[in-house]
Symmetry: C2
Subunit: 223 residues, 2 copies
Amino acid sequence: MTTRIVELRRGILKKNDELAAGLRGRFTSAGVLVLNLVSSPGTGKTAFLERTLRELRARGAQAAALVGDLETDNDARRLAASGAPVRQINTHGICHLDAEMIGKHLEGWEQVSLAGLDYLFIENVGNLVCPSSYDLGERIRVVLLSVTEGEDKPLKYPGLFNSADAAVITKIDIAGPCGFDRELALHNINEIRPGIRIFETSAKSGAGIDDWLDYLAAQAKPS
Amino acid sequence: MTTRIVELRRGILKKNDELAAGLRGRFTSAGVLVLNLVSSPGTGKTAFLERTLRELRARGAQAAALVGDLETDNDARRLAASGAPVRQINTHGICHLDAEMIGKHLEGWEQVSLAGLDYLFIENVGNLVCPSSYDLGERIRVVLLSVTEGEDKPLKYPGLFNSADAAVITKIDIAGPCGFDRELALHNINEIRPGIRIFETSAKSGAGIDDWLDYLAAQAKPS
């Protein structure tokens, strides 16, 4: 039984990798920087992304977002308040996005043409396990971790942290009341993914957001 | 492809349900109340459980815990500080416990005989999706939600909240700084699982813990 499952998973992942490679080619040709945001439920991906979209607009950049959730479209409605084009993907019980879902939702998205975008953010389903194996064609995978979750999460979910290109610590405005051990968190992130770029942010206070936007701008430049 | 996966999943779940039914029979015969604790990563299951184990010992009850994690044995070491027998289950990348893992880890657990226990707690892998379909033979499934995670989680992960018998709100000592909307959280939990018993707790301050222990004692009584 186990062997059949593993074979089936490999088959699914191979198909996903092929679709993701196709998407990556399209994104590169269009000159759009695509980021895949992954984290536990409740880390604050949506609040962080809403602030990012809002500030990017203020800087004159064109950004859009695809947002994955099991059931609701709450997050798409929250993000739309930023003024950016946002499209919801409901996975109906599946605990991650995949490349096929991304491809389908890019089709017929009337507000958005890839060539007109500087940034496309993909907010994955809140989960520290399932999204790690699914390439969505992104250039940068961003793992988020809030000060409320415990500093041990990188050690407990190494697959996801190890596959990330950047890490964002969220909700640092409540680090004090949460008893957040900053040194330990940075140590644990670096243990799983040595040298990863880490941003310490608060969507509420705006702390760390300028550094994050500068990083995005540097990454978006044609190399 | 999808059809084969669904069939395979049904096959796995059927086998799991049979094993879980067997476990439930053993637990009932032994007179032990078994609880399955599920939540997002970082909700504070371990801190809540450690306090529960410690207070149960102080009340003279016999309690033990099985604790699931993808990789580390950090949680088992933290829980062992309570003095209760604790055994780690490493799932090696699988995002939930299943009945077979429980059965295997009950075998050869030298510190523990089921008949000598009043309570057995099973701390599941931190995940709001995967654990919902896997019966572990428990009598009570407890879903935990922290004040830091957002009041919308019951609506976004209805499968898990709908399968729970009790809900525990954790970290209420930091509800203020987190801007927790208590009424909205209670409303959303009740929308998915009307009438569910809800405990508002803090493992740090001890708030709500007595109510929780009284509930456990009432549930453990032979009916």
